[in-house]
Symmetry: C2
Subunit: 590 residues, 2 copies
């Protein structure tokens, strides 16, 4: 019995649907269905628009919003995450495919599907190997900087659709120069449609909820959720206008023929060279997509006191991307705005996602002929309004005010993402963060400490009024001791001792902040011990932590140490003063 129940528990951990599925009730169904309808209406224009952003045909966006949602529903642990094409990943897809120089649109969509497939395999492997922690190396400021820069880049890349011009470029300077050069060729009907759509969408975002509240007496939450379906009216309105006014004849670009039917199932075929070139972008897309998705999921789970399982999320996103790659889609992940709408609209379980998939499937089967006259400018406006909410340059001022190292990491990420590309930007952000961390740990803070009067607590002599003794020097080392700082520490301690070499009889290294002593640092400690012994000074340690003490016991250092290891700094101070003065008559308050 125990075995079978533990086997079931294990199975449930890999297939969370077995857990919530068994307890699925009528109330859950109602909530999930309402949420699914709203998310479907929101997702149709978004999925078309993001496909456009990725440089793909519109239907690829629809295909990426069907099977991946079903697979996430089976494997995911978040009750509210809405999976599908998102802006940043679409930009990264475009940036991964552009340098391949693919000639036909068929090759391009095949490569996008392979990118989803490779990314899915990577996510799945990371999940099975419990490597979710790798994502932690992306610091919050680097992510914030990257998302902001991506938002700016995406908005800039869509400007050409609003202006009705053809312009290339992958970095912000390139895009702006291209737009500037093509500005004389602006298509005025397109610009009018684009500006109207932009203005309407901004109003939907800022003003519609207020109108719904005051005019229809809706609750604040219901109003803001309903306002989310606003963009579909821009789609309907501009499509009708384009059809009625025969705008394609006036040079307004429209979506055109979109194939009707089920997504194509099967393995996309590309050559090995292309596959190789997609691996690094797929890794970055996987990690960025995972980080975005898991932070949304965690925020929403916390609101309902639920928990998500990060490694299982990797598995779920992996399955979603593999299914996307096998059904003519491209890389997907959990979207922020969409998941919030799903949550606010009352989604109770991942089944809401599966119902949304049905909605998108119906759209792919029935609605595609209606999309012929949808102006690309409308889709571009949808993207611009969505991504501008991602742009938040306040991370720069926050980081500047808090820590220059964090600021440097954000600045590098933003500048390189805008100026060179998304992959270089995010990689440089991670490397700069790590390099600055290592650099800081190589130059640690060392404090001379004394006893806080009336307590057994020891603090920095420069910051607190404390008791010290000329014969007993206590130095608190504020860092793990390892190769990058060992020699520096050696110099620092010996130089400090040199200043009062005639008075000092004992040096105590207070190790409360030393979390690690590696072999290089051990050799430095041995050297310090030797040099102090040569000068007739004893070296003591205090407050050495368990794991560090275990490590030191593997060496001969403790046998060679001229002094003792004390449990607490107070014990050390009292014992050594006793020994030197038989009563501590020389104590001075610094």
């Amino acid at each position: 019995m125990t075995t079978s129940s533990s086997r079931l528990a294990r199975l449930t951990s890999y297939l969370p649907i077995l857990d919530w599925g068994r307890r699925y009730g009528r109330a859950d169904l109602t909530g999930d269905l309402i949420a699914a309808v709203i998310v479907t209406i929101m997702l149709i224009p978004q999925s078309l628009a993001y496909a456009l952003l990725a440089g793909l045909p519109a239907e690829v966006g629809l295909y990426a919003s069907i099977l991946p949602l079903v697979f996430y529903a089976v494997f995911g642990t978040s009750r509210a995450l809405a999976v599908g094409p998102v802006a940043v990943v679409s930009l990264m897809t475009a940036s991964a495919l552009a340098p391949l120089g693919l000639e036909t649109i068929g090759d391009y969509t095949a490569a996008a599907a392979v990118l989803a497939l490779v990314s899915g395999v990577i996510l799945l492997a990371m999940g099975l190997l419990r490597l979710g922690v790798v994502a932690n190396f992306l610091s919050h400021p680097v992510i914030a900087g990257f998302i902001t820069a991506s938002g700016i880049l995406i908005a800039a890349s869509q400007a050409k659709h609003i202006l009705g011009i053809k312009a290339g470029g992958h970095t912000l300077p390139e895009i702006l120069i291209e737009i500037g050069r093509q500005l004389p060729n602006v298509n005025w009907p397109t610009l009018v449609i684009g500006l109207i759509a932009l203005a309407f969408l901004f109003w939907v975002r800022k003003g519609l909820a207020g109108v719904l509240k005051s005019a229809f007496g809706m609750s604040a939450q219901a109003a803001s959720t309903t306002a989310r379906v606003g963009p579909v009216f821009a789609v309907i309105g501009t499509t009708i206008a384009a059809w009625a006014l025969e705008l394609p004849g006036a040079g307004v670009a429209v979506v055109g023929q979109v194939p009707t039917g089920l997504p194509p199932l099967g393995l996309p075929t590309i050559d090995f060279g292309t596959l190789g070139a997609l691996v690094v972008p797929a890794i970055l897309i996987s990690i960025i997509g995972y980080v975005e998705s898991v932070s949304v999921a965690q925020t929403l789970a916390a609101k309902r006191k639920q928990r998500i399982e990060p490694n299982q999320e990797l598995i779920a996103l992996g399955a979603a991307n593999i299914s996307s790659g096998l059904s003519g889609g491209y890389p997907v992940t959990g979207g922020f705005a969409r998941s919030v709408v799903n949550f606010d609209a009352g989604a109770e379980t991942p089944a809401a996602g599966a119902f949304t998939a049905v909605g998108l499937l119906l759209a792919a089967l029935l609605l595609t002929p209606l999309l012929f006259f949808l102006p690309k400018a409308t889709l571009a406006a949808t993207i611009i309004v969505a991504v501008l909410s991602l742009v938040d340059l306040s991370i720069l001022t926050r980081a500047w005010g808090y820590s220059k190292a964090d600021f440097a990491a954000v600045l590098v990420t933003i500048l390189l993402t805008l100026g060179v590309g998304v992959e270089v930007g995010v990689a440089a952000g991670v490397l700069v963060s790590l390099a600055l961390f290592v650099w800081k740990t190589s130059r640690p803070h060392v404090a001379e400490v004394g006893q806080v009067p009336g307590s057994q607590h020891f603090r920095n002599v420069l910051r607190h009024k404390v008791i010290t003794d000329p014969a007993v020097l206590t130095l608190r080392i504020d860092e793990s001791l390892y190769f990058a700082n060992a020699r520096r520490m050696e110099d620092l301690i010996l130089a400090r001792v040199h200043r009062n070499r005639d008075e000092i009889k004992h040096v105590i290294l207070m190790c409360s902040a030393v979390n690690e002593v590696d072999l290089s640092a051990l050799e430095s400690l041995e050297a310090i011990n030797q040099r102090l012994t040569d000068q007739g000074i004893e070296l003591h340690l205090s407050e050495v932590k368990g794991p560090v003490m275990d490590r030191l016991k593997c060496s001969h250092f403790l046998d060679e140490l001229s002094g003792q290891v004390f449990l607490s700094q107070y014990d050390a101070f009292v014992a050594l003063i006793e020994r030197e003065h038989a009563g501590g008559d020389k104590l001075s308050v610094a």
Copy 2:
């Protein structure tokens, strides 16, 4: 007056010769002259041999032992360091020049001189920018592994000269395979000369000092210093043998025609492509050379209670290498064995080095015709005996016993140095060390702590018998909080609280080991504070260090914190227990 004396002090710090030169006396002169004679006799065969190892004509070794010694004497701060060609840097020179595919020996020596020049400029720049700390990123185990692997590689590369065969190869497997293939072509007279030289040199190293002590009544130090000139007898003996027995006719390779005269002064000319290819090797040669040199200098300075100035050492080595590059030499640095001999023979000031330079200059002017019949096998034997003393595989067992991370770094360094090359080996060693350090800090130790009875000291509940309270959970975080561990810490703390969520009223984070809180970690702390507040639990901090507290004050965190920041953990524990129980009746000893 003050200005001019401080200007003088500054000048003296850049030109240490102004300091010791003013106080130079007769006793100094005697010591320096004796040391110079001994080092000269030792350096002549070494400089020829290391030039051979670097793939250069023999005279280049002599040239690299003249001007560089004079420049080091002017700028150096070590009283005993003997600069010149050394084994590891010669190997690195060979490894830097081999892939360039240079056709004439003239191009090859020009490239070697440029390598010295570039390396000198890099060292000088590092010194002026006070970047000596960069060398600290080479951990002791990585250096030990690298030197050991280089020693093996050098010894293997010289075997062909002992065997009298032609064999190429740059990695250990390549060299061994080549030797195996060429073994049938062994030149027997060469092998006999080589083996005799090897046996004699081993005996000189191990047994000669003992003979000198017992037979001539020398002191132990005098005997071991005198034994250092032993190799010159191998040179003289085998040269005479080769001349008398007409060994070149029997296929024994000899040094041959060595140009007589002063080193050629002037800028070596090479093309820009070659210059570009030399920059990375020059950086590695600079850092390795500096690390080797400065550790010898530091060891010797400590013995006489002197100090060296690491950044000025960079300047001095930079000047030495620039002068080497401008006088037909190749990269040089301070040699270990040579410096010890210099020190033991009584060198009092860097003037000993300048006198040695005069000795080498005389050798270049007068002795070169005598070197014609010097067998290359003798020089190879000199190298092999010298480098085998560098080989010390015990670093592997020491690292294994102390820390698996250190072991991994050594192993990677040794295997890649032997199997791929010196540059890859040392670079991989540094990267692996850093990656393992970062990985460890991303998975920190967290201890639940309690009060050690009868003290104000708090330790791990799992290791010590301590007092705890069910309402007050204290967690000591044994690492700086930064992006790579912030989210993990968040999960860990919340999971621990979840286990006793009905009893816990207060969580204290004891921050004695937290040396840094970056922006990502600050956001995690805010999240922890928010989640605990939602559960009706207060969050407190204790023992936050000055620098971390300064940082936290730059944010809103302290205003939002549900609890307090206590100076000491004891203060926090007492105050919170008081508040919960009005007297602490529920305390339990775990």
